[in-house]
Each structure stands twice: as structure tokens, then as C-alpha cells.
Symmetry: C2
DNA sequence: TCTTTCAGTCAACACTTGTTCACTGAAAAT
DNA sequence: ATTTTCAGTGAACAAGTGTTGACTGAAAGA
């Protein structure tokens, strides 16, 4: 069954390379300490083939971030439901988030690692994704009456706070979930409490 | 001047090794991609000498975290001033924090890197330092009348939120401060706004 | 059909890596 | 004064690194 066109085959090895890199990062290694040769080997390909797809590891990383971005957008679409009540919306969002983290551990491991420990280009790319996330949130909640006395710049900052509160201890979730699956609920409840606290502040904010 | 006792000399090279590692992390490289040989070379010492002080890079890292812990405690003591008014206390704390970040860039670079991207032992060690930080905060503000309707566990969570809010975008500060020193003020004002928002929520919290 | 394209292979390169071992020489202990 | 201790040296190792250039063979295009 030689049903594979050349283009398909190329896309496939490309994906294998990216998957190999993600698997390695997910297994406790840091992305910046992973060698091109290791990635190639784990993808079942000779080192020189790597160059047919990426010029170096950084470019591989940037492409992973692109995929990560797509995943985050899907996550947002799933979580968004335009409920008016904060509690319901927040609970749903955090649950969806936690679900995604568990379903795509390697991506989130990569993200947490690279956000603070990647090359400056990689850090910047991740920062952009998070910025997009918080901008979306801002335009979602901007119309709410409870936020009418918050001006745009303050709302932006508050949205950054909300986003970083959710993302911030993802690494803790990833660390604990391996040994103790019950931590998932703890994470959800703790995060919700934090969000409630922020929301309480946001709705009584006077710009 | 052979005034150096053997012990002193040893302590000195030990410090040189740790400083070399910190300098390398501060210059954009990730700690986990730095080799033992590089550290030795930058410390002006032969690779084999490294083993007289640390068994491997991870142990070096743990020792750096110990020093980092000492620094954080000093920072806390400087920031703490038992003001009753939130605004004054918060502003002072954030300013002291930002000052420390600028004065000890390498330590904070290392901390940000390792918290999410170090070996699990290193991550755990950093987590402990942050936990200590938020525990101190909790016992500091526990007596405040405005928090009387917040129970202990909720207060803990809120303190984690406060601490992570301050630490969270340290990497952004470190990234921007190189090219644009004016970002320091932006960072301080943004962080203060976030803290005010959290504080507003915390003081109207009902456990 | 013949020619071109190009993902993947193989061998080789100069270099860096962690770790070993036997060593030196001055400070510390006797 | 003599012996012991031990931080730092230097050479050597097996293994891994990024990158090169010339190659193969099947799919795509003519």
C-alpha cells in the first residue's frame, strides 16, 4: 500500500520529529538540553533528515508553539459559553482547562518550560499566545455591567491577572497528577477560589 | 600575601563555581544545558576540580537555591514594615522586590528558569522557597481585622495568589529591563494594580 | 517514457561532553 | 621536622554533539 503521496510522507515525518521532541520534554528533560540527534533518533530518522524539516531546534520549537496556539484556541472555544453568572462560567472554564492539561501534558510541559526557560525568541512566542488569550478574555467580559466602572487598560491588566492565575501553577498540577490523580480536584477548587477572589476585586473596582 | 587558609581558599573556588553557573544562566542559557566543563572553565579551574565541591550540576543547583533562599529572606525583612494601610505596605513591598530583582538579576533568572524547567528536585526546592514566602505573608496579615471573615485555609490560598502575582511576571521584567529601563515603573504600577484587585477581593471575602 | 525533484541515508569531520586515574605541592597535623 | 591531608592539575577514555557533502531511489512532472 504505497498510498502515501510524497507530501503526506513529509508531513508525517515532520510530525514525528515534533512529537519526539514533545515526548522528550514531557519525560522530564528540558527542551534546551535536548539534542537534534536525540530527536531524530526518537523519530526513527537519521540526524541529517532533521534539516529537511527544520534548520535547528529553535525552529522546531517555534513550530511546536504554533500547534500549541491552535490547541489553546480550541480550548478557549470549548470553555466559552457566555453564561452570565460568574460561578458557572468560571467553574466550566477551569474544568475544561484542567481537562486539556491532562489530555495534552506534553504541550503544557513544553509551554511551562519554554515560557521562562527557552531562548528569547521562544519566550516571546509563548508570551504572544498568552497575550492573545487574555485579550480574548478582555473582549469577552468587557460588555458586562458589573465591570462598567473599570476602564479598558485596567481591564486588560485584570485579565492578565486572571490568565496568569490559571496558568501559573500548571506546573504544580503536572507534577502532582502523575503520583496523585486526586490532586486534579484540589487544583480546580484552589484555582476557583483564587478566581473568585480576583473577580470580587474586579467587580468592585473603580478606575 | 599567603593570608589564605586552605578552608578560605576552598570556599572561594566554591563561590567562583556557583557564580560562574549563575552568570551563564543570566546570559540567556538555560541551566540544564550548561555543562560542568563550562562552569569549571568560567570559574578559572580545571574540570576535575569541580568534583571537589559538587558531585554534579544538580547539587550545584541545590546550593544556589540555598543562597537564593537567604536572599529572599533578606528581601522579606527589608520589605516588611507592619504598616496598617495596604497601599503603603504594598507599594513598599513591590518596590523593594523590583529593586532586588534588578540587583540580583542572575538569581532571579535562575529561579524563574528552574521553577518550571529544572529537574524535579530543583523544582521542588524552589517551590519550597515560594511556599515559605507565602506562609510568612499569611502569618503577617492573619491578625488584620479586615480579614476576620477569611478562614485559615482560604487565607493560605489568597497568599499564594498574592505571591504568585508578584513573582509571576518577573521574567517579563527581566526581559524588558535590559532594553528599556523605564519598564521598571510599568512593572511596579501593573503589579500594584493587580495586588489592589486581589486585596479588594480578599477584604470582602466570606469563607 | 524519460527526466527532474527531493526526503531520507551514510560516512566522516572536528569538537564537547562526563568521568577516571595517578599526580603535585602547599597547608595542616603530628 | 616529618608526615598526612586534600584542593587543584593534566592526560586519557568512550560517547555524544552539530554540520558537511556526496549518495540513493522512488514519487512527481515533462
Amino acid at each position: 500500500m504505497q498510498t502515501q503521496t510524497r507530501e503526506e510522507k513529509k508531513r508525517q515525518t515532520r510530525k514525528q520529529l515534533m512529537d519526539a521532541a514533545l515526548t522528550l520534554t514531557g519525560s522530564g528533560r528540558h527542551f534546551s538540553s535536548i539534542s537534534l540527534r536525540e530527536v531524530a533518533k526518537n523519530a526513527g530518522v537519521v540526524p541529517t533528515s532533521f534539516y529537511r524539516h527544520f534548520s535547528d531546534m529553535e525552529e522546531l520549537g517555534l513550530n511546536i508553539i504554533d500547534d500549541l496556539g491552535l490547541m489553546l484556541r480550541k480550548l478557549m472555544r470549548t470553555a466559552r459559553q457566555h453564561e452570565d453568572y460568574f460561578e458557572a462560567q468560571a467553574r466550566n472554564s477551569v474544568e475544561v482547562y484542567a481537562e486539556y492539561v491532562c489530555a495534552h501534558k506534553n504541550y503544557f510541559f513544553f509551554m511551562e518550560q519554554v515560557r521562562t526557560g527557552g531562548s528569547s525568541a521562544l519566550r516571546k512566542a509563548i508570551r504572544n499566545e498568552l497575550k492573545y488569550f487574555s485579550n480574548e478574555l478582555a473582549s469577552d467580559i468587557r460588555p458586562l455591567a458589573q465591570l462598567s466602572s473599570t476602564d479598558d487598560t485596567d481591564l486588560d491588566i485584570i485579565c492578565q491577572l486572571i490568565v496568569s492565575t490559571v496558568f501559573e501553577c500548571t506546573i504544580d498540577l503536572l507534577d502532582h497528577i502523575e503520583t496523585n490523580p486526586a490532586y486534579l480536584d484540589t487544583y480546580i477548587e484552589h484555582t476557583l477560589k483564587k478566581l473568585r477572589c480576583v473577580w470580587l476585586g474586579a467587580t468592585s473596582w473603580q478606575s
